[in-house]
């Protein structure tokens, strides 16, 4: 496996897993974000 290929799979993991983890953290934050938001 070449260096380019290893870099590509690493990037794929960072992007796929990273975006999923960030989104899960966002979902965990969501209730407090919405609770802080004033209603009209």
């Amino acid at each position: 496996m070449s260096g380019w290929e290893i870099f590509t799979w690493l990037s794929t993991i960072i992007l796929g897993l990273g975006s999923l983890i960030v989104f899960i953290f966002f979902l965990l934050d969501l209730p407090s974000l919405l609770n802080n938001q004033p209603k009209k």
Binding site: E5, I14, G16
Partner: protein, 490 residues
Amino acid sequence: MGFIKLVGPISNLDYSIIIIYMMGMVGVGFWFSKRHGDFEDFFLAGRSLTTPLLITTLISTYYGLDVLFGDSQLAFTDGVVAWFGYARPTYAFFLIAAFLLARRLRKENFLSLPDILYRYYGKETRYIGAIASFIYSLPSLSLYAFGMLGEVIMGWPPVIGMAVIGGVGLVYTLTGGFWAVALTDSVQFLVMCLVIALAVPFALDLVGGFDQMIEILPEYYFQTMGDLSIWLVIIYASTGLTILVEPTFYQRIFAAKSYKNVRNALIAGIFIWGSYDWIVTILAMAAKVGVLQGTITVDVDSNAALLTIMVAALPVGALGLFLAGVIATEMSTLDSYCLVAGGNIAYDIYKPAIKPKASDAELIKTTRIGICVSWILGFLIAIAFEQMLGLWVLLASVLISSVMVPILIGLYFPVLRKKMAGTLSSSFGLLSTLILNIYIMIYGTFDPSEETYILSYGNWEILQEYVMYFTVPFSFFGFWLGILIEKNKG
């Protein structure tokens, strides 16, 4: 306008995914339409964005189809230089923004980019900054892209694609404000990142694996600087300068809960930005391999490389997600720019110039009018202009030339915050960039291979991209002229 056609069929399942996605975005907008407090809540989500939300909204806003197709176009024709020469330098600007810019911006509780100019230099500079920011934020490029996507995906005439897909973005931005923009950005972020990551195994499988890429592509495809000249690399790298005065980027810094949230989001974001750019580069190179192998159509246009290989490689359902991801990539850009443009009209022009005691409700209403105005102007420009790249260069140079010098000097040298310096710097920058761009577009010739206007003087050639190298120093000159005038007065 005429665009590429998809080479494969799109199933009903794919269409359903796209429609559900767009309806979901509108639903979020309506859900937030009755949940606003004051103007700060509508425009900056009450300054409550946490790190994960900042990562998602920063990445999805800053990455539009220009990046998706721009990166892939260069990678298709030149290889990995698209990442090393074009994408990588921007990460340095993100680091500068994370460690040098964000702390100062967040500390002073600004509300908009022209607000900075007002506090440092007074209302005249603010108005010029607001005009420059409004012009830059017109969503003409996004709407043009939707015209293209509507034609490619649905077979619609471009005007219908602009109106329908762009209209979805307009509706939820109008109703939901920054809350809707930030929250839809998060979903859009997930869709655009996941589909690009999921596409890698399918695309590599289609062309016979990575080894085939190394074997088939010319050697220079794997040279980090390809065959680009150092000057071209410098020009590509300098496009990252826009980050330092990007209004949507500033808006997210102002909307953050604290400086630490912004810094952490930018540092984490660089890894995701870098991975995203690299994968787009590899997918476009795989498309080139597919063309050379005859796996995909041989007459594929370089800017259609990514779409073409995705249509060829992805199974039913995954293709719908990918196309929704492509729409998401640009939708998250359009909503943010429309909101910034609306805020420029309401907060930076209407309030100080027409009604200083405007209530929050009036400001929100005026912002919504501004959003509509910016969308309509962007729509008209997208229909009228043929050369979108030239338009982007014009819009970017208007913003950079008008506000970069006064904002960066004002942020770091409080002693130089003189009214005349700000006024002359921003007006010199704005006027010179408009005059030079229009002059080159009228008296220059359009070069289809370079995709830009070129003005020739004997052996000298001035590309439209070079305008900023004249106008930013001119804005700098205006600044120092203003300092001298103030000094002589005092």
